[in-house]
């Protein structure tokens, strides 16, 4: 089995950092959505709407560095950035980062790291949705919701994952393939 080398680790960490900076651009939208949805009781839904954006580094790292563990690292190192930046949430976000990373990685594991196409991204988006939802179910009180809301939150999160970690990641991967970045990186 191929192992991660220092070059791969640096690349994955850089991707995690870059995505972290780009996510910052979506913070305004997140706050606005939360403020808008809170009066009607769906403030926490903003989290699920945005979840796909925060989970893009994992599948992209998994696609770019085709070695077991890279999707997990892509997500997990993203949460390390906050720790290093001295963010107060930093240490605790490592757990969320690990949970998201595990979800991302599972999609690649289920295809035995052999398929790199739409199906793998779809699978990874779905496993990330399930794993992160289960974590929020316990941690963020989703278990107190009505059955309808439990399903609604799950479906919204799934759609967000499909849009960002599947469609948008595939569009980025297509550009990278056209530029021969993915092949050159394999050498």
């Amino acid at each position: 089995m191929k192992k991660l080398h220092v070059r791969d680790i640096i690349l994955i960490a850089l991707i995690a950092i870059i995505f972290g900076f780009i996510y910052l651009a979506s913070d305004g939208l997140y706050n606005a959505l939360t403020a808008l949805l809170t009066p009607i009781g769906y403030g926490m839904l903003a989290n699920d709407i945005m979840m796909g954006i925060w989970c893009m580094a994992g599948p992209l790292a998994g696609f770019l560095v085709r070695i077991p563990g890279s999707a997990f690292l892509g997500e997990f190192l993203g949460s390390c950035v906050e720790l290093i930046a001295g963010e107060q949430w930093g240490a605790v976000n490592l757990i969320s980062g690990a949970v998201q990373g595990l979800g991302s990685e599972l999609g690649f594991t289920f295809t035995s790291y052999r398929r790199y196409d739409w199906f793998t991204l779809f699978l990874s988006a779905t496993t990330t949705t399930i794993v992160t939802y289960l974590y929020d179910f316990i941690k963020n009180g989703y278990s107190y919701f009505s059955t309808f809301n439990m399903i609604l939150y799950f479906v919204v999160r799934w759609i967000s994952m499909l849009l960002f970690t599947c469609v948008l990641v595939k569009l980025i991967v297509n550009l990278l393939e056209k530029a021969h970045v993915i092949q050159t990186n394999q050498n």
């Binding site: 070059r7 850089l14 809170t38 009781g41 605790v92 009180g141 809301n149 970045v181």
Partner: protein
């Protein structure tokens, strides 16, 4: 306390309070972290921010659980409200008292983390200001061509990843040319101690936490 062990302690406590809803335990953890931070002479402005920053997120959770769930339980809403504060105070108890370099060294020396992870990640994190500038530059170039690049634009990620690939190659070449070998034994410049006292503090806190979490009502 040893940085690596402190991180594991914070993570274990966070994970436990995520799984067990207990208002008393959350408040005790917040109080303990507050005392620890004051003992470590945290700047008052930072302390004030620790109360303000989580207020928005915690209030949203409180409102949703208290007003918009079938049980409308005040207790559960308070648990989730204080849980967010407990996370932030636990996080601050770590980040305000530990440097990342010390943590990386501790994880490598005391917890057998392969050096390629410690140094690979450190190498990438040292170019964070350059990455920030690069992402801003790409967006600015887009704006100059009346082509706004946002978090949903594949082109923004594509261009940033191209830079990342080139930097990762340069950084790795730089490390190798300075004599770094990823699977070889390394000498230690700054030793990080992991003493019996560290283990004693770690295990005492973990043992103390269990009755608070499971018996305190």
């Amino acid at each position: 306390m040893n940085p690596g062990l402190k991180l594991f302690l914070i993570l274990i406590i966070s994970l436990e309070i995520s799984l067990v809803p207990n208002l008393g335990a959350n408040l005790i953890i917040i109080g303990a972290c507050l005392i620890y931070l004051l003992f470590k002479h945290i700047n008052l402005k930072k302390l004030f921010l620790l109360f303000i920053i989580p207020l928005f997120a915690a209030s949203v959770v409180f409102i949703t659980i208290y007003y918009f769930t079938p049980s409308r339980s005040l207790y559960q809403a308070c648990v989730l409200f204080t849980r967010i504060y407990a996370y932030v105070f636990l996080g601050a108890a770590f980040t305000e008292t530990t440097s990342f370099l010390a943590l990386a060294r501790s994880l490598e020396q005391n917890f057998k983390l392969p050096s390629k992870f410690a140094y690979g990640t450190l190498a990438a994190f040292n170019v964070i200001p350059k990455i920030h500038a690069e992402v801003n530059r790409i967006r600015l170039v887009g704006d100059m061509r009346h082509y706004h690049l946002s978090f949903y634009s594949p082109a923004l990620y594509f261009k940033a990843i191209l830079s990342a690939v080139s930097w990762s190659n340069s950084l790795a070449d730089g490390m190798i040319s300075h004599g770094y070998r990823e699977d070889k034994e390394r000498s230690v410049i700054v030793p990080i101690a992991l003493t019996k006292k560290d283990w004693l503090i770690f295990s005492s806190i973990i043992v103390l936490l269990q009755p608070i979490l499971f018996l305190l009502k």
